[in-house]
Every structure is written in structure tokens, then in C-alpha cells.
Amino acid sequence: MVSNRLFVRRRDGRIEVRLSDAGRDIAREAFGHVVAAERDPDHEWHAGLNAPINPSSDDDDPLSMLTRQNEISTNAELAFMTLHEEFLNDAEAWAWLSTFQIALRSTAVANGLLSEEKLNECEPAMLEYIHTLQQFLFSLAECL
């Protein structure tokens, strides 16, 4: 029987990446956007990565904001650096999952896809991109 899972937990504990070249291209694009968005205040995803922590306060704690920025960047850079790996350890797989999830939500926020209705009305190419990221996430979540 042939498995069509994109990520598989091996007996030795490592997670095998079974993405095709096209799949890795999509991953590269997603990870690259997250890395760029954290660095570039003009990036369309930047505001989404800096959402309020405490909406009842005018300003969030600078230390918390810095921690968030550092951790998002670290995950995205680790995911980007391991793009061509055949196997991931747990920390790398967590970085992939977090960065895919940030890319997915940032895409939805940047395109105003914040309700089921808006999602159903969006262009087929955008919907296909979102479904692809969701498939990556489904499969990776099964391994973690």
C-alpha cells in the first residue's frame, strides 16, 4: 500500500519529509515570506505578525514583543535552513509547523479571508494555495 502522507514519523524518531520539488518550492516561498515579514515593516504580513497581546492596553510590553519577534524569526530561519533536509528532528519539525501556520494565517489576514464566506468567495488559485498549506499542516501535525 502506498502512503500519500507528506511527513512520516520514522521508528528512529526522525520525521521524514516526503514533499515533491514543487512542494518544497511552496515551503521555500512560505518560509521566505515569514523571514522577510519579520524584518520588513512594509511587508504585507508584518502587521499580522505584530498583533496586540493585551488589546485593553495602548502598548504591549516591549520585552514580550521582542521575545515574539525573536522566536518567530528563529523558527522561520530554522525552517528555511532545513528546507532541503530529508529528515527533521522534533525541534525542526516544530519550526516548520509554526512557520507554515504563520504563513497560512498571514495569507488569510492579508487577503481579508477572515470568515467562511470570504474564504468561499476567494480566487481558485488562492484557495488552492491555502489548501496546500493546510495539507502540509495536517500531515505534520500527525507526526507531532
Partner: protein
């Protein structure tokens, strides 16, 4: 008649205000896969699979769920971890 508030009353109100717990709230969105939310809750809070699934379903059906309550600093730290994992999360003080 105007009542004068004493220093001890003000201090007492401040103590009550600071003792009210802070909640970490996770908000629903239409794109995040349910299984991913469960994995993130397990990783960050170490809750059981059942509890994570229940919380995820509350988010899905009610639009939001309180996933942790306690001291402000810890609430803020958990909120940041959830945001780093790509979920929409905020903190709020108990009313």
C-alpha cells in the same frame, strides 16, 4: 452625601484588582486546521489530548476560548508562545 474614600479602601481595591486573574484567550479563524490547534495546545500547555480537543472545539463553536488563567506575566508569556505558533491569541483580565 459625599463619602470620603480612605487610603485603606483604595489600597484594598488595588489588591482586589491585581488579584483578579488574567486569561489567555484563543480566537477562531476559518483557515487553521483543528488538529494543528490541538497539537499547539499540547505542546505549549502540556494538557491531555481530551482537554486540548475540548478547548479547540470551544474555540471553533464559540469563536474563542479561555485556555489558561493566572498571573499576568505567565498569561503574557503563554500568549506570546501561542502567537509564535501562529494562533490568534490575546490576554484579558477577569471582569
Amino acid at each position: 452625601m459625599r463619602r470620603v474614600t480612605t487610603d485603606s479602601e483604595v489600597a484594598s481595591e488595588e489588591v482586589v484588582a491585581t488579584k483578579r486573574p488574567w486569561h489567555v484567550v484563543v480566537w477562531d479563524d476559518p483557515v487553521t486546521p483543528m488538529s494543528v490547534v490541538v497539537v499547539i495546545f499540547k505542546k505549549i500547555f502540556g494538557y491531555s489530548n481530551n482537554k486540548c480537543t475540548q478547548l479547540m472545539l470551544t474555540v471553533h463553536h464559540e469563536g474563542r476560548a479561555i485556555v489558561w488563567s493566572g498571573q499576568r506575566e505567565r498569561a503574557e508569556s503563554y500568549c506570546v508562545k501561542l502567537q509564535v505558533a501562529g494562533l490568534q491569541a490575546t490576554i484579558e483580565q477577569d471582569q
